[in-house]
Structures are given as structure tokens and as C-alpha cells.
């Protein structure tokens, strides 16, 4: 399958990229890692008139500590993030999630920003961002704006990005000594999209967990916070009741890979495992 014809422009700067997108009037796509976009173009699932290549823009490619937050430029490669000492130290949940994303050759090109902006409901990074309580920084012709992770993901491949805007960076709170993380996913084969997965973060307070954030992926049109289950866990020790609270939180989809019943069941299994991790992990 060969793509339909399109024009290509290499952005010289973020400002230039925004100009090109503005001129294209909604008929352009941003080319970042390309690991999802070019597959879609090859399959003719998408036929934009213009691709704006933002690879090589140095100011989108940095990993910095910004106060008590870790900032990752949108063009940071997934493989680079996975190996970055800063990410390992300050956002270990991202490192854990990344090891489940596709395969090494894909991660060498795929970007942090690209995965967040695509918002595939079965992807790890969007759920990770929500679990960490992170935010995205968006660049547009009017300037920059920041959106919290939960407000950013709106629906199936739908985010708060407007046409003509470019995701510039993501920020997550740096891990502290009280940070607790958990991650789990079920996939039929290594590297596949998850049938269901769970990203979790919490703060240890004595022998209790506070600020529990349980974010499931692969169960809905976007990352789903299991708020009732979170409340149960914050209240006290883990019990079977938490699993039934989960049934109120989740209404998974059915597809050829998994039934709704399977996803619901596996979500419960994941919950048990991940809450165990939250209780055991510690920096």
C-alpha cells in the first residue's frame, strides 16, 4: 500500500511549523516519530495535503528538571526517555510503561509527544500522564498554553489540541521519597497494544496511601480513572470490595481481541497486582 500524494515541508523552527500548519488550513499533519502516522498514510487511512516535519527541532528535544517537575520535550524519543538517567530517577513510571511500548526499532523513532497527541486508548503513555497528574504544554500561533492531563484526553483519538497547534512538551511531578508507583498490562504478545492496562501512582503517608490515581487503558475511548476504586484504597486496606467498586468505574469495550467480560475481569486482576506494587514500592 502506498500513500496518496502529499507535500512535505521541514520546519526550521517551531514558529515555522505553526506558520505552515496555519497556512494549510487543517489539511496538514505534524510528522513527529511517524510510527503511527506513516502506517496510517501507507494504509490510506489518512490523506493529508501536507506533512510538516518537526524532527530536528532542538528546543523540542530536551529533558529538564523544571522546579519540582520533570519536563520532556515533545520530540524526546521513547528510547531516549527509557534510558535517560533523569527520567529513571524522576519519573520511573514512564520508564516502566515504555518498556511495554511496541519494539526497540519503533521506540527509536516514536516520541513522547507523538504518543500523547495521538491518544490511542490502548496506549501506555497517555494513561501514565494521567496517573502522574501531569500536564501538556501546547504551542499555537497565539502562544503557549498548558492543559492538565485529564482535561487533555477527550475521546477516541481526540485531545484538546486544536488544528494548527503543536504539542510542545509534557511535564510530570518529580518522584519524591513518598511516591509510590504501579504498572501492569495484559497483551497477547510482547509489544502488542494492551487488552487492558493499569498505570497507578500514590503518595505514602504512614502506612496508608493518599492521592491514589488508578488509570486504566485499553478499556474505553480514553484513559479511565477508577475513582471509586481509588476511594476504597485510600480509605484502608485492599479488599474484595475494591474489585466490585471497579465494576462501577469501568465499562470496557468489546472487540475481536477481548470481550467486555474479559477486560473487566483482567482489570480486576491488574488492580490487585498493581495495588500490591503501590504498597511495596518506594524510592
Amino acid at each position: 500500500m502506498k500513500p496518496a500524494p502529499f507535500c512535505y515541508a521541514k520546519a526550521r523552527s517551531l514558529k515555522h511549523a505553526l506558520e505552515l500548519l496555519g497556512q494549510a488550513n487543517g489539511e496538514a499533519r505534524v510528522l513527529a516519530g511517524g510510527q503511527s502516522l506513516i502506517a496510517a498514510l501507507n494504509l490510506r487511512l489518512s490523506s493529508p495535503r501536507l506533512l510538516v516535519d518537526i524532527n530536528g527541532l532542538a528546543d523540542l528535544d530536551t529533558i529538564d528538571l523544571d522546579g519540582d517537575r520533570l519536563a520532556l520535550g515533545a520530540m524526546v524519543r521513547q528510547a531516549a526517555a527509557e534510558r535517560s538517567p533523569a527520567v529513571i530517577e524522576h519519573a520511573p513510571l514512564i520508564v516502566q510503561a515504555l518498556s511495554h511500548v511496541a519494539h526497540p526499532a519503533i521506540r527509536n523513532r516514536g516520541t513522547i509527544g507523538g504518543s500523547i497527541a495521538l491518544a490511542d486508548p490502548a496506549a501506555e503513555l497517555p494513561a501514565c500522564l494521567v496517573a502522574l497528574g501531569g500536564e501538556v504544554e501546547i504551542a499555537g500561533s497565539a502562544g503557549r498554553r498548558r492543559v492538565g492531563a485529564e482535561d487533555f484526553f477527550k475521546g477516541l483519538y481526540e485531545t484538546d489540541l486544536e488544528p494548527g497547534e503543536v504539542l510542545a512538551a509534557v511535564r510530570v511531578p518529580s518522584a519524591t521519597r513518598a511516591s509510590r508507583y504501579g504498572f501492569g498490562e495484559f497483551a497477547r504478545r510482547k509489544g502488542d497494544y494492551a487488552l487492558v492496562g493499569l498505570c497507578a501512582a500514590a503518595r505514602a503517608s504512614g502506612d496508608k496511601l493518599q492521592d491514589v490515581r488508578l488509570v486504566f487503558f485499553g478499556v474505553g475511548l480514553k484513559p479511565v480513572r477508577a475513582r471509586k476504586a481509588e476511594a476504597e484504597i485510600e480509605g484502608g486496606p485492599f479488599e474484595e470490595g475494591t474489585i466490585s467498586a471497579l465494576a462501577d468505574d469501568l465499562d470496557p469495550l468489546e472487540d475481536i481481541q477481548a470481550s467486555k467480560a474479559l477486560r473487566t475481569h483482567l482489570a480486576g486482576v491488574l488492580l490487585k497486582r498493581v495495588v500490591q506494587q503501590l504498597s511495596e514500592s518506594g524510592s
Binding site: 496518496a4 500524494p5 515541508a9 510528522l31 511517524g34 506513516i38 519494539h103 526499532a105 519503533i106 523513532r109
Partner: protein
């Protein structure tokens, strides 16, 4: 300046290449059709089978998920170059003696991927080998012989270095 065709300059297997390409042409199609480097293969065109694995700036990538246009100014290596340089001579020899290939269509992708693994992890376990190559599809061998050949190469390299 946006265009349907782009002039690209890249270093492919050590040779400077200057060509005009359609914007929509993938790197693997450019290598195979415009440069006659047919050693890299196309299996799915959606990034899953790994047959199109090449190196760009020293890193393994899917040739079907990059545009030739994106490789302007970049260093690209295919199986032909990596083979002729002698870099993977031992790996190739072990693939041959162990019969870690049957039809050979997936083999260039596996060789480049295996070489990348051994560059990062000098003594991978069999499980680690299987995990690293889990993005490369082989229909003929069932993978066992491939794991054997990579393991043997790692052991020999470690033996030479110790």
C-alpha cells in the same frame, strides 16, 4: 517551502547519494527502487513485521515508517553495507552454520536487530534475546535456531573480549 518532490542528500552505506524523491516515498522503497539496495525487504508496510529494518544514524528503525525525505542529511546503513564492512561476519557465520534462516526474507532485519541487541547487552539470556527480537516476524524457523545463533555469537564475542 513545501513540495511534492524533495531533493535529498544522504550517506548510504558510506556512499553519498543525491536524489529527487516523491515526498510520499518511504525510506525502504527509496533504498530498494531508487538505489537498487534490494537486501532490505518489505513485508507489511505498517511497521510490524520488521523485514524493513535498517539503520539511520546508527539506530535500528523501520524503513517502512520513515520517509526518504526525512533522511536528508542522515547516515543510512542497510544489510549490504553492514555485511560488506565485515561488522556482522561472526553473526552471519553463526546464522549459516545453525541454519537460523530458511527462506531468508526476514534475515536482514533479524541480523541488524541482533547486532543492535549485542551492542547493548553483551551477554543476553535466551529470554532477553527472545524479547529483543520479538518485533521481527519469521514464519519459517519458529525462532529457536535464531536464538541459538545469537546466543552463540554473544558467547564467542564475550570469550574474545575476556
Amino acid at each position: 517551502m513545501s513540495a511534492l518532490t524533495i531533493e535529498v542528500t544522504m550517506i548510504v552505506n558510506g556512499e553519498e547519494i543525491r536524489e529527487t524523491v516523491e515526498a510520499r516515498k518511504t525510506l525502504v522503497d527509496f533504498l530498494r527502487e531508487d538505489l537498487g539496495l534490494t537486501g532490505t525487504h518489505v513485508g507489511c508496510e505498517h511497521g510490524i513485521c520488521g523485514a524493513c529494518t535498517v539503520r539511520v544514524e546508527g539506530e535500528i528503525v523501520r524503513g517502512c515508517l520513515m520517509l526518504a525525505a526525512q533522511c536528508d542529511g542522515k547516515r543510512v546503513e542497510t544489510i549490504e553495507g553492514v555485511s560488506d564492512s565485515g561488522e556482522i561476519k561472526d553473526l552471519q557465520a553463526n546464522f549459516v552454520t545453525r541454519n537460523a534462516l530458511q527462506c531468508g526474507y526476514c534475515t536482514p532485519g533479524f541480523l541488524l536487530t541482533a547486532q543492535d541487541l549485542l551492542a547493548r547487552n553483551a551477554m543476553p539470556s535466551r529470554d532477553e534475546i527472545r524479547e529483543f527480537i520479538s518485533g521481527n516476524y519469521c514464519r519459517c524457523t519458529g525462532y529457536h535456531a535464531i536464538v541459538d545463533a545469537i546466543e552463540k555469537t554473544a558467547e564467542a564475542r564475550a570469550g574474545r573480549n575476556s
